[in-house]
Amino acid sequence: MSDSALYSGLSGATAAWRQLDVVSNNVANVSTQGYKAGRISFRTEVEGQFLQAQAAVATISPVMSDGPLEDTGNAGHLALRGEGWLTVQTEDGSHQLTRDGRFALDNTGLLRAPDGAILVGEQGPIQLAAGEGFRVDPQGRVFGEVSGEAGLIRMRKGPTKHAGGNRWLANGKMERAEPTIVQGALEGSNVDAAMAMTELIEASRYFEAFQKAIAASDEMTGRLNQSGGK
């Protein structure tokens, strides 16, 4: 029975550590454009006759709420409102998803992210004329001042996984999304500082509680051993 208490304590402590890891990444990315806060969820698993309960990390999933809008006045900056991802094509030709809308028109008329990835429309890369002004409407249609309509920005939603560098990868079936696009603005991180601090306190306190449980269980085993010895 003590063993069971010991391992319950241990699994709880491990889960609290994980929560600390998730909160720390949220706090580190409190100013990252288009960052989506991670949220950890736990599940209590109970098994056996003697009630062996274990707190286990079930999932770490992104909170998909919108981050705050920051007005930059730069025509190449795009912010999304509502669920969905922009699609970019990296140098190796693969598609990645992002909410970090920092693009600039290059000398071939493509809209490129700072790392060189190209903004993709429903019919391939958005192609404008070099050096021209352009406008993006709330539905995501791009219009060049000289070249005219350049296509609809490809936006998707569905299961994703992290790729790092503010990018995500599709992780299952994606469907068409229709968020609103705001040109001349950037979406900030959706990390809520107050929430992060609360979770931080929560994780430390959980850890402490589980430590107490482990210590108590240890003590009980110790006493049991002593009494058995007599």
Partner: protein, 242 residues
């Protein structure tokens, strides 16, 4: 242990942000200065196994913190200040004034505080001759710069870049072409109107820099709280064995 490193990356990123703000504020009085803003990105995620009895799931992703993605330049025009000096000019539009560097290359600037060298050549405030080599005779009494950059004795070379935010700063208000800025073309009249007798001031807005500073400082503080919490948790863990 991970959270300590993650929080440290957060603090380093906020430090860069503060450094950027400091440089902007220091250049609040620099003619033609363009403010910078720091941009961040999350870093590689590590997959960890999670306990799950379900068939699905079983893997969760833990982030490795943050890093500075780049420091972008905001190219909005600064306010125009009338100086009345016929050798001062401001460009209303995205064009850049081309300058010849001593090594024979080209550099570009928005600083239109021009002067005349000993032989009458038009030079920038730091003494670099303008591209095109415009020489003003010593006895010239009035010099006019037309809106398209035409001077009585030649024409100022104005350049437009496909992506000017990627020009590389060379100090002394000069910028150089880079592969990502693209190759410049000669400015058309609609690219910029030259206004004689004006200077373009820095586009740094002190109020927004102060807000940026407060945000950076608070974010730094939040990360330090994470360090504290991780440290306390480690201590608790160390006390397991008494």
């Amino acid at each position: 242990m991970r959270s300590l490193y993650v929080a440290a990356s957060g603090m380093a990123a906020q430090q860069t942000r503060i450094d950027t703000v400091a440089n902007n504020v220091a250049n609040v009085g620099t003619t033609g200065f363009k403010r910078q803003r720091s941009a961040f990105e999350d870093v590689a995620y590590q997959q960890v196994a999670v306990k799950s009895r379900d068939a699905e799931g079983g893997v969760a992703e833990l982030g490795g913190g943050v890093r500075v993605a780049d420091v972008e330049r905001d190219l909005a025009n600064g306010a125009f200040e009338e100086t009345g000096n016929p050798l001062h000019m401001a460009i209303n539009g995205p064009a850049w004034l081309a300058v010849e560097t001593p090594d024979g290359g080209m550099a570009y600037t928005r600083d239109g505080a021009l002067g005349r060298s000993a032989d009458g050549t038009l030079v920038t405030a730091t003494g670099m001759p303008l591209a095109g080599g415009i020489v003003v005779p010593p006895d010239a009494t009035n010099l006019t710069i037309e809106p398209d950059g035409t001077v009585s004795l030649g024409r100022l070379e104005l350049a437009v870049f496909p992506n000017p935010a990627r020009l590389s700063p060379k100090g002394g208000n000069l910028f150089a072409e880079t592969p990502s800025s693209g190759v410049p073309r000669i400015a058309e009249p609609e690219d910029g109107v030259v206004q004689q007798g004006f200077l373009e001031r820095s586009n740094v807005d002190i109020a927004s820099e102060l807000i940026e500073l407060i945000l950076a400082q608070r974010a730094f503080e939040l990360n330090s709280k994470v360090v504290q919490a991780a440290d306390e948790t480690l201590q608790t863990a160390a006390n397991l064995r008494r």
